[in-house]
């Protein structure tokens, strides 16, 4: 941790010249198309007033991402899953908690000999429809995963940015709070908070969100510290920008996107944590199905009814794959546009 903290300071004084030199060199070696177009600086050429042809940078990133195959597959998959989770349980009219002892432990379609069209993914030990239960579970998992990561990112980035930008006493106070938070294990926090009261969904989101932000705060602080000393920040100050404006319009748009791509992975982690809590009985309470409780229930039947414990896993896998595909496509598009393509 110490290394992480001291690194940006040193990198500024010692490494910057090297980096700058490299930038200059690469410029020398391959003058890019823009430079060639612009170099003669035809100041007197009639200024074109119509530049609607060129598109804004955000727009270009979106377009480039949308053109990639991975993005399309991911988007289709995610859209399908989200639509199914949103609509199917209501449209099909099947209650995820409805028992049907006669149809218990039915296998998924075309497997074994007792499958039925009424239950495409089979049923569990008391005859509840697996498809509906998985889709309802997906709703809660997605909600909890995305919302708790959002809480984490917002708290972590806000505190880290403020600490890194203002430095000094602000930095010390915020970082000590971060250290304190880091020293509390997530499970202990969860048991303390969720065990004291009935675990509701907002409470679960808060617990998961609050237990993970220190990592973001530290990363954000170190990049902001490195960036704060750069000259363009000074230029913004001289042009009259206030500190909040510099933070929100200059630094955050520059530094947060790379962090967001890694936070996609955290969505998966949060879904798994939620399952863990469910497994411990501290998650969403039955009869509401979540991935954690379905897996916990299906564990006992793993040998003769493997689908009960695996189906939530399959859904989890599909969801995360699609989110990752989309995230990766965006990341690539952003890098290639910002890299001069």
């Amino acid at each position: 941790m110490d290394a992480v903290e001291t690194f940006p300071k040193r990198s500024q004084s010692k490494w910057m010249p090297v980096r700058r030199k490299r930038a200059r060199q690469s410029k020398n070696l391959e003058p890019c198309s823009i430079a060639e177009r612009a170099d003669p600086a035809p100041a007197l050429a009639t200024p074109r007033v119509d530049v609607t042809a060129s598109r804004s940078i955000g727009r270009r990133i979106l377009d480039r991402a949308a053109r990639s195959g991975g993005f399309r597959i991911g988007a289709l998959l995610l859209a399908g899953l989200v639509l199914a989770a949103a609509l199917y349980p209501e449209l099909s009219g099947i209650d995820p908690a409805m028992r049907d002892i006669r149809a218990r432990l039915l296998p998924p379609l075309f497997l074994g000999d007792k499958w039925s069209w009424a239950h495409p993914l089979g049923t569990d030990q008391i005859g509840r429809d697996m498809l509906v239960r998985c889709l309802v579970g997906l709703r809660y998992s997605l909600l909890i995963g995305v919302a708790s990561v959002a809480v984490t990112v917002v708290i972590g980035c806000a505190l880290g940015t403020v600490a890194g930008y203002f430095g000094g006493r602000t930095d010390t106070v915020i970082m000590r709070i971060t250290d304190a938070q880091l020293s509390i294990p997530m499970i202990i926090l969860a048991i303390a908070v969720l065990g004291a009261d009935r675990p509701t969904i907002p409470a679960i989101i808060l617990v998961l969100g609050l237990s993970n932000w220190p990592v973001y705060a530290r990363v954000m602080r170190s990049v902001v510290m490195a960036e704060r000393g750069r000259e363009y920040v000074r230029a913004a100050q001289v042009s009259g920008a206030t500190h909040p404006r510099i933070l929100l319009t200059l630094l955050v748009p520059l530094l947060v996107p790379p962090l967001l791509f890694t936070s996609v992975l955290d969505v998966a982690r949060m879904m798994i944590f939620e399952s863990t809590l469910g497994f411990l009985g501290l998650g969403v309470q039955p009869p509401t199905p979540t991935f954690g409780s379905i897996i916990a229930d299906g564990r006992k039947y793993l040998l003769n009814a493997w689908w009960i414990a695996t189906m939530p896993g399959v859904f989890l896998c599909l969801t995360l794959t699609s989110i990752n595909l989309i995230g990766a496509a965006f990341e690539r598009a952003r890098n290639s546009i910002h890299g001069g393509a």
């Binding site: 090297v18 700058r20 391959e30 170099d39 100041a43 000259e231 200059l250």
Partner: protein, 612 residues
């Protein structure tokens, strides 16, 4: 005499997937023993690639296409690495980036010993250490034995460059390749380094290939100069002949662009004084401004010392002036810039803008001041946010100052881009792949977009090569005429200042030591430090001041423990008794000029009055 180095028909290409670009095209030249050969060219001409090819240090994506580099008859380019390593003791290389060349975690002396023992394994450690200390002494690093154990961070830039020269010279090489060694150094230190290199050729019989982007610097060092333009060797002549009678068109242009300092009076910028404005109408006045920082004392836990970066500075800048603040690194220029632009408030004294103390401004008034004074920054690569479109960059200041109508904002930004010579087509582009000059134009546009009255140029031109500087200076002149701007240049480049400014303040260790009009300062400087700067300035013409008379060895003392008396006395060849005890005050010379030296007539009287 056989040449030490002979390069024949050398071509190097940059190979990228799908295309290939020639960097060096059929270069050929010789270097005789004990000769210093200069290599001059614009940035991007292939100088660095050439200096690397000569030491057999060409790596992918660069590739050698043809030619030989023979060193005492052996062709280097075909040598296997093992044989090359043995030759490294005879061929040394010094680069432009001394910070990057030394390992920050090892003492400087140990690194040099390590290199010496790598190329000459038969030297014992003790012997090597003695030799390194002797050489550190020879390049005039003060108290070399103690410095041997210091870390690179404890060295100043000039000392680090000297240490690297020791690193190169320690094995008594027959050839030293010096790639832009003086570029990161101040003029007085650069002059010392060049003098040192000339001495070394005599003492150690080393030949030097002296690569530089500046013709005046190469002239200081080299007896013969090669001119490279876009990878081709366009001219080779003895340096004096090259400057007197350049044959190739490119060289002629290069020579013509070097500003004339003392020769014919260069066309000074016409000061566009508004009719009726008296020259006493100060737009910015500094009143006894000081800035003190507290820095942690090295080797202590919580003790701090005072670093007095700017000390009691007083001057006025008149509307329409091109005012320059010159001085070497560490003299307080940048602190002064931060005070003028109100990035910081002075710890004592006042900065007045049209009579109002800017430290007291806040809210709307501060915003008004910001609109009046804008800053153009130094580093074209660092000063633009890397992932913002150029149009958005230029729009930001307008939005800060309350512009809301997107159409008006766009129009204003386009007008400014047109003003500074940026193609409007760049509006939605990122600043990638733009040349340093183009980036600097964006910087100027960002400052100009608010229609300021004062532009503060913080070393704006020092990152650019001669040709770009030339173009931008013309642009500044045009903008000044069109908008009636006042410029404040903060610079270490006296040649540029001579060309562009009408009034000049010279700073040394946080103090203004001389304040004078352009003509007077260059022809009749009142302070020995100004004379030293002028003598060290690389130029193409006969000097008015000889460095031998004006410049003593050494570097400025640390601003943490300032010496008693005159701050410059440790380097001043004319220091006498009074300088030891009494700091000199700015004394009037003539109508408008001031200098802080006991040698100025009248200064003694003030001193006596003070003593009495």
């Amino acid at each position: 005499m056989d040449p030490v180095l002979s390069v024949r028909d050398l071509s190097v290409a940059l190979t990228l997937p799908g295309r290939e670009r020639t960097i060096l095209d059929a270069i050929g030249f010789d270097v005789a023993p004990r000769e210093i050969v200069g290599v001059v060219g614009a940035s991007g001409a292939g100088k660095t690639v050439l200096s690397r090819a000569v030491v057999n240090w060409i790596a992918a994506p660069l590739a050698i296409r043809s030619g030989h580099v023979s060193f005492r008859g052996t062709d280097l380019l075909g040598l296997p690495p093992r044989a090359m390593r043995r030759l490294r003791r005879d061929i040394a290389y010094v680069g432009a980036d001394p910070m990057g060349a030394l390992d920050p975690t090892l003492p400087v002396g140990r690194q040099i010993v390590e290199k010496l023992r790598a190329v000459m394994p038969d030297v014992s450690r003790r012997e090597a250490q003695a030799r390194v200390i002797a050489l550190l002494d020879a390049v005039r690093i003060p108290s070399a034995t103690a410095r041997f154990h210091d870390y690179p961070s404890q060295f100043s830039g000039g000392m680090m460059q000297r240490a690297l020269i020791v690193d190169a010279m320690v094995s008594n090489p027959a050839l030293l390749v010096a790639d832009n060694v003086t570029q990161p150094l101040d003029v007085t230190v650069a002059a010392q380094v060049i003098r040192l290199m000339r001495e070394l050729t005599e003492r150690f019989e080393t030949a030097i290939l002296f690569v530089s982007s500046s013709l005046p610097v190469a002239r200081e060092a080299a007896s013969r100069t090669l001119v490279i333009d876009q990878g081709r060797l366009v001219e080779e002549q003895p340096t004096e002949a090259l400057i007197a009678a350049p044959r190739h068109a490119y060289t002629r242009e290069l020579v013509a662009q070097i500003p004339v300092i003392w020769g014919e009076r260069p066309s000074l910028p016409a000061v566009p004084r508004a009719a009726g404005a008296r020259p006493t109408d100060a737009i910015i006045s500094l009143r006894d401004v000081s800035q003190t920082y507290r820095v942690k004392r090295r080797g202590s836990f919580a003790a701090t010392s005072e670093l007095r970066a700017v000390r009691n500075v007083t001057f006025d800048i008149v509307k329409g002036d091109s005012f320059a603040v010159v001085g070497e690194s560490g003299c307080g220029k940048s602190t002064l810039m931060r005070l003028l632009s109100r990035l910081e408030r002075p710890s004592a004294g006042q900065v007045l803008c049209e009579g109002r103390d800017i430290a007291r401004l806040s809210g709307a008034e501060l915003l008004g001041f910001r609109r009046k004074l804008q800053l153009v920054l130094q580093d074209p690569f660092n000063s633009l946010p890397p992932r913002t479109g150029i149009g958005a960059m230029l729009e930001a200041p307008l939005r800060i100052h309350g512009w809301r109508d997107p159409r008006k904002i766009r129009e204003r930004v386009r007008a400014v881009m047109d003003d500074v010579g940026l193609p409007v087509a760049l509006y939605d582009e990122l600043p990638l792949g733009l040349s340093a000059g183009q980036r600097q134009r964006i910087n100027v546009a960002r400052a100009m977009v608010l229609e300021p009255e004062i532009l503060l140029m913080d070393e704006t031109l020092s990152a650019l090569d001669q040709t770009e500087q030339f173009k931008l200076l013309a642009l500044f002149e045009k903008l000044q005429r069109a908008h009636g701007l006042t410029y404040i240049y903060i610079s270490h480049d006296l040649a540029m200042v001579r060309k562009a400014c009408n009034r000049i303040a010279v700073m040394y260790l946080g103090e203004v030591v001389e304040l004078a009009d352009n003509e007077r300062l260059f022809f009749d400087p009142g302070h020995p430090y100004t004379r030293a700067l002028l003598s060290a300035m690389p130029a193409l013409e006969a000097r008015r001041f000889r460095p031998e008379d004006c410049l003593m060895e050494g570097e400025p003392p640390s601003p943490i423990d300032l010496p008693q008396g005159c701050a410059f006395r440790s380097r001043c060849p004319q220091a006498f008794e009074a300088c030891l005890h009494h700091p000199p005050f700015l004394t009037v010379r003539g109508a408008r000029d001031l200098a802080a030296c006991h040698r100025v007539p009248g200064a003694g009287a003030a001193l006596l009055a003070g003593a009495a």
